[in-house]
Point group: C2
Chain length 436, copies 2
């Protein structure tokens, strides 16, 4: 990349089968089920046509019938990512996987395989598990406490990196004449003996094209921010307020520096939901229509998950109650609580915010207005890019790619063509050197 070129925005699409607005699936052109591979592959190809850096799949390891419709039933993200590797050529492919409910040896293999099969396009969103009910699906008495989950995660990530470094680059010899298939001297055991994991290694896989998958993190708590400063290369953030977003970004980059890393190697990408119309009034009418279609029970449940408290006993038309912090989804809870306080929202109003964008920033307007909203945060240092959360698929995301992306390109803020082939190259991140 030309070092004198202006700073470039990074864009990801956050794929949730039935869209991000809880009523998105009810719109006339909305996709069918949230398990529709053909539709998800279509979204991936649309994002690639839009030169997006990456697509992103969220996850949870539990469900209940009154969850957000996009989360109640879904394809498993790692296998889905592998399938999408075959349906695309250039776009980065990131999925969520839990450090609380998987084994590092298994996860290193899944991620490493996806990186191999996609030619270096894999990203891993490291989560510790935001739903305490998950423990009940894994023969565990209870979900580990918040700070312990992060301690486990930090060790887990080190083990995964160590396993992916089992083989030095150049292990393949393929010398048919001499009978030398690999160079055995370049394969190393890990011999990890930590507090939570004992993993001997080596991993049964050569070093992936990117070395490690691009590491993504979204924790907003003190422990989450520290883990992000240490290992994250993309941070998904939830912010409604540009000031809070700037502070968050500066804080994360400062932490990265403290861990000896370049602040350019940690990209802050807040979620943004965009409702696009030919005019502002048309966009607003669309949002109102969505709001009328939203299921109030599900919407309150989605808010309850984010605040970490059962809300069924509260008056919907009273101000949002003050609730103690819970051990889950800290970033969502803080952003929503701050918003409610700042704008004196009732519980019903906050519920409707969450129904629309799950607590993320909502932009409503013409393509120019959407682009303005992105540019403002980007230039203010509140974001290095955005995780785009379309209210439903495929229509609004087609609109984003066809109408908003060209504006960002004309303004010199976003690439017109891919320059590299790996996700690290799209993001301007170096390939990590092999570590003994």
């Amino acid at each position: 990349m030309d070092p004198s070129a202006p700073r470039q925005m990074h864009l990801g699409v956050f794929i949730l089968g039935a869209g991000h607005h809880i009523a998105g699936w009810r719109m006339p052109d909305a996709a069918g089920t949230s398990e529709d591979l053909a539709m998800i592959a279509r979204i991936a190809r649309t994002a690639e046509r839009g030169k997006f850096d990456l697509l992103f799949l969220a996850d949870a390891v539990n469900t209940r019938p009154d969850m957000h419709p996009s989360m109640v039933l879904r394809l498993e993200p790692l296998t889905l990512l592998a399938a999408l590797a075959m349906a695309t050529q250039r776009i980065g492919l990131a999925a969520t996987a839990s450090t609380t409910y998987t084994e590092p040896y298994n996860l290193a293999r899944y991620l490493g395989s996806i990186d191999h099969m996609s030619g270096g396009r894999c990203g891993w969103n490291i989560v510790t598990g935001a739903f305490a009910d998950a423990a009940l699906n894994f023969s565990r008495g209870q979900h580990p406490a918040h700070d312990e989950r992060y301690a486990i995660a930090a060790e887990f990530v080190e083990v995964v990196k160590g396993l992916l470094d089992s083989c030095e680059d150049g292990i393949w010899q393929l010398d048919k004449r001499a009978g030398r298939f690999i160079d055995p001297a370049r394969m190393h055991a890990l011999n990890h003996e930590g507090k939570y994991f004992r993993v001997k290694g080596p991993l049964n896989m050569s070093r992936p094209p990117q070395g490690y998958p691009v590491m993504i993190q979204a924790g907003a708590s003190e422990a989450g921010r520290d883990l992000a400063g240490q290992v994250a290369e993309i941070v998904y953030a939830v912010h409604q307020d540009i000031g809070a977003a700037r502070e968050f970004s500066a804080d994360l980059k400062r932490r990265a520096r403290q861990f000896g890393r370049s602040p350019d190697h940690i990209k802050i990408m807040p979620g943004v939901s965009a409702i696009i119309g030919g005019t502002e009034a048309e966009a607003k009418a669309k949002l109102a229509e969505l709001g009328e279609c939203a299921d109030p029970v599900v919407a309150l449940q989605v808010l309850a998950e984010r605040l970490g408290h059962d809300l069924s006993g509260f008056d919907l038309d009273a101000p949002v109650p003050e609730l103690p912090p819970s051990g889950v989804m800290r970033g969502h809870a803080e952003t929503l609580t701050a918003l409610a306080r700042r704008e004196r929202l009732t519980l019903r109003q906050l519920r409707n915010v969450v129904a629309a964008s799950m607590g993320h920033r909502l932009l409503v307007g013409t393509p120019e207005q959407i682009a303005d909203g992105l540019q403002e945060w980007f230039e203010a240092g509140a974001a290095d890019g955005f995780n785009v959360m379309p209210p439903w698929f495929p229509g609004p995301f087609d609109d984003f790619v066809e109408q908003v992306v060209p504006i960002l390109q004309r303004r010199g803020l976003f690439r017109r063509e891919y320059e590299g082939t790996t996700l690290r190259e799209h993001l301007g991140l170096p390939r990590p050197a092999w570590r003994a």
Copy 2:
């Protein structure tokens, strides 16, 4: 299927990146690395052109530099299967996954996703782990003992089935007008509380096209045969001798009957390695050439894994020593020991057998002779089909599909076209009914 049609042979291809003969990779047209997705996808499409029932990926969760070259480094099978689902349309897609080193909630999702994404083509080879070293990669003090591994496996399979039945068929409502996305009454918790697993559920996925993946098993011990009789729909067997193979097949079908199952719903598919030549002499010369290229150290290591004993202290030119049974690869050990005894083999001779076919039946000859060898076992009730293990890829497998398959088709033993779309349909297995 026409019930008056003659019984049909089932064929699978056992894909090991660098081939089954330990020296296969050294042949001039052999593929490069064992992690080559493009080559593996080519094999899958060749098998589909040959109307194979399924392709099969083996696995292990440990490695060492002196393992069989196809096993030392490899892509992870579940993610690979998901990628192959996108590269093929009709062929069944089966992979090995361990019940000792994964969690049933995770594995149910991986398998269910692959079944959804492939339109009902997933198979699962249930293994308990044949390599004791695996424990050291999973923070375990030691590999569980043989019979306990099978007890864990039996419960694990029940949990996976229960999770895949979390949703009744017809859960999708998609009634945009009424705002009914799913039918919540058709989603059920599992509430499993067993000896080894506590899993509440529900699984966050609708019921896959096949209900459950086709269940595959290869255990030859008493515990392994019982598990197979109870749950297996395909059994991979290792036999050199038609008499032993017939007894094995009859025993497995008898056990299936004892568990209330139809003997037609358990398909015995021994592994077969075929060395094909234009003449028998040409095929034998090929085998001899392969033998000369085989690495003697690796070959002895592959034999040692199968017998479950370190063999480095034994005289290669003395008769194969009598060794007590180990807790791993029981079927391989028994077949190889019987062969050595029957044919009075030295350790060196047995090592060379294993180098060629890993202990499986080896057919060497013209396409007609190969077809004869398959037909003989099929008609004698020693096999319902075969798991074809080409010595290397792609050449010998291309030959099998182009030269052996048409002979089987002309003889009325093998399909000329797929009739169904799912792996269950290829095998004539019913889709299991939903269980509360």
